[in-house]
């Protein structure tokens, strides 16, 4: 066996050469001005100082601002879009999950639903959001629909894998003692897959809540809408305020999601 393996240093050199090629390729092209890195538009110290100056008034929506304009409200709206969207997507993904499970429906149907789910998954969220905003208005509802529809693709694939890997023995045991279809599902299938499905959905919730910030760019609601304002004003202070709120929210959702998932295993 040792004689047949290529020498280690050959593989290592190939890797290093590939790495260098990739880096050269990355920075070639006339559109990149590497000199910008040397004099960052602000010095790092200045950036840091500005980003720390958090506008607490704006944060909580007190003082000059109403609550509904404050960042806390936007963060809650962001979570609402993420939560409801994921729930909506999860409920609709369940039938897709069953349709995609080879062991239940046979190879052809499973392949077709796999392709449909792939198309839904690959469609970039931002484009879906733009389209839905035109149809449903520039409000959080479009955002919820975007997250929901996109999640159907993602969750459907994971659901069908979970259903495939499910332990079939309780199902068969119930079948052999003569349970009818509803009893078989209720006592044989559901207790098996519900923990898996919930774990997958919680994982997706974590990712989706982060993705909601993108939707605000196209006016579909959530924290992304002030992001555009901060971006056009080049305001570090506003960005710092937004950053603080988003970090807290993401860490909270991450914490809730992982502790619930640990309980499910």
């Amino acid at each position: 066996m040792y004689g047949k393996q290529p020498k280690r240093w050959i593989i290592n050199t190939i890797f290093v050469v590939l790495l260098i090629v990739v880096i050269i390729f990355t920075f070639s092209g006339s559109t990149i001005k590497l000199t910008r890195l040397k004099n960052l538009d602000y010095t790092l110290g200045d950036m840091f100082r500005r980003i720390i100056k958090i506008q607490w008034d704006f944060f909580f929506g007190v003082g000059d601002y109403q609550f509904s304009q404050g960042i806390v409200h936007l963060v809650l709206e962001t979570f609402a879009i993420g939560f409801l969207g994921t729930l909506f997507g999860a409920i609709l993904a369940i039938p897709f999950g069953f349709l995609g499970a080879e062991s239940l429906v046979g190879k052809k149907v499973a392949k077709i639903s796999e392709v449909i789910l792939l198309i839904i998954r690959v469609f970039p969220e931002i484009i879906l959001a733009i389209i839905l905003v035109k149809g449903f208005g520039m409000n959080a509802f479009s955002g919820m629909l975007t997250i929901g529809l996109h999640s159907i693709g993602m969750l459907g694939k994971l659901f069908s894998e979970a259903i495939d890997n499910m332990d079939k023995s309780p199902f068969e045991a119930l079948d052999s003692v003569g349970a009818n279809v509803w009893q078989k599902i209720r006592y044989g299938v559901l207790p098996n897959i519900l923990p898996d499905l919930s774990s997958i959905t919680l994982y997706r919730l974590d990712i989706n809540v982060r993705a909601v910030s993108i939707l605000g760019l196209v006016s579909a609601g959530g924290i992304g809408s002030i992001l555009t304002i901060a971006s056009s004003m080049w305001s570090w202070e506003l960005l710092g305020t937004i950053l603080l709120a988003v970090i807290i929210m993401v860490m909270l959702v991450d914490f809730i999601s992982s502790s619930l998932r640990k309980k499910l295993v």
Partner: protein, 269 residues
């Protein structure tokens, strides 16, 4: 709840099904958070959806099918830019993540004062959604491809560092300890004992992160960080055909990357 009498004359109560708590909790949360989402069916213009689809993918106005397919040629430069951003950013971020993960794994560096603060900073960077990183990057280095590379590098660094230190912490420590006890210093021991165990896992993660980063190329361009997304944001107001062409390009790119990553993952096993 129903009571059952067993053969041994003992009585057993069917326990309260906890699922009702879960359903109740879900319902309450849904109702609370639904307050934030307006639901006004009267303002919906569903016919608009069909119109948009047609405008995206069928030439309209004075444009012909020749024009439409000609737009694909214009996609070349933005596409290359997007690949530069995703590929370069992923690789640089992953390479940078390696030493940091090494320093923060508690089975390599026994000193908690080093590993814990580094882990904290990593968690912070990880919690920032890609789009905010992109805006941050445009603040730092101006708009254009460079900010895209910076954003993807930071993002990949955050994810890879966490995955790497988790992998390092779950690795089998015995070769490492054996090497250390026979006199090798930590770096050498790490290289031969731990790194060789991690390599396949590391490569798998790099491909996974690359896949995620390719999907973000649409968003990055939208905030001005270069690539195909910029075509979308430039043209969204007046030339839907170009937007449609950009969408198809992104679609094909992501599918190709998915197929490639599935193939590589199967080869790695």
């Amino acid at each position: 709840m129903r009571e059952f009498t067993l053969k041994s004359v003992a009585k057993v109560k069917q326990p309260f099904n906890k699922i009702w708590f879960v359903i109740g909790g879900l319902l309450i949360t849904t109702i609370i958070f639904a307050q934030f989402i307006p639901f006004t069916p009267s303002s919906y213009r569903l016919s608009e959806l069909g119109v948009i689809f047609k405008r995206l993918f069928v030439p309209y106005g004075v444009r012909t099918w020749n024009d439409y397919f000609g737009y694909f040629k214009e996609m070349q430069t933005p596409l290359i830019e997007s690949i530069q951003i995703s590929l370069g950013g992923t690789i640089i971020g992953s390479v940078l993540a390696f030493p940091v993960a090494f320093l923060s794994a508690h089975n390599v560096i026994k000193n908690k004062f080093i590993s814990v603060p580094i882990k904290l900073i990593m968690n912070l960077v990880r919690s920032i959604p890609m789009i905010i990183l992109a805006v941050l990057a445009t603040f730092m280095v101006g708009t254009g491809v460079l900010s895209g590379i910076v954003a993807i590098t930071l993002f990949s660094f955050g994810i890879m560092a966490k995955m790497l230190y988790e992998a390092i912490e779950t690795v089998d420590m015995s070769p490492f300890e054996a090497l250390e006890s026979s006199g090798a210093n930590k770096l050498v021991a790490f290289n031969y004992a731990i790194f060789s165990q991690i390599k396949p896992i590391y490569l798998g993660y790099v491909i996974y992160v690359f896949e995620i980063n390719v999907r973000s190329s649409a968003v990055l361009g939208y905030v001005g960080a270069g690539g195909i997304g910029q075509v979308i944001s430039d043209n969204i107001l007046y030339n839907y055909n170009k937007v449609g062409v950009a969408i198809i390009t992104i679609f094909i790119t992501v599918i190709v990357v998915q197929i490639f990553s599935n193939w590589t993952r199967r080869k790695l096993k």
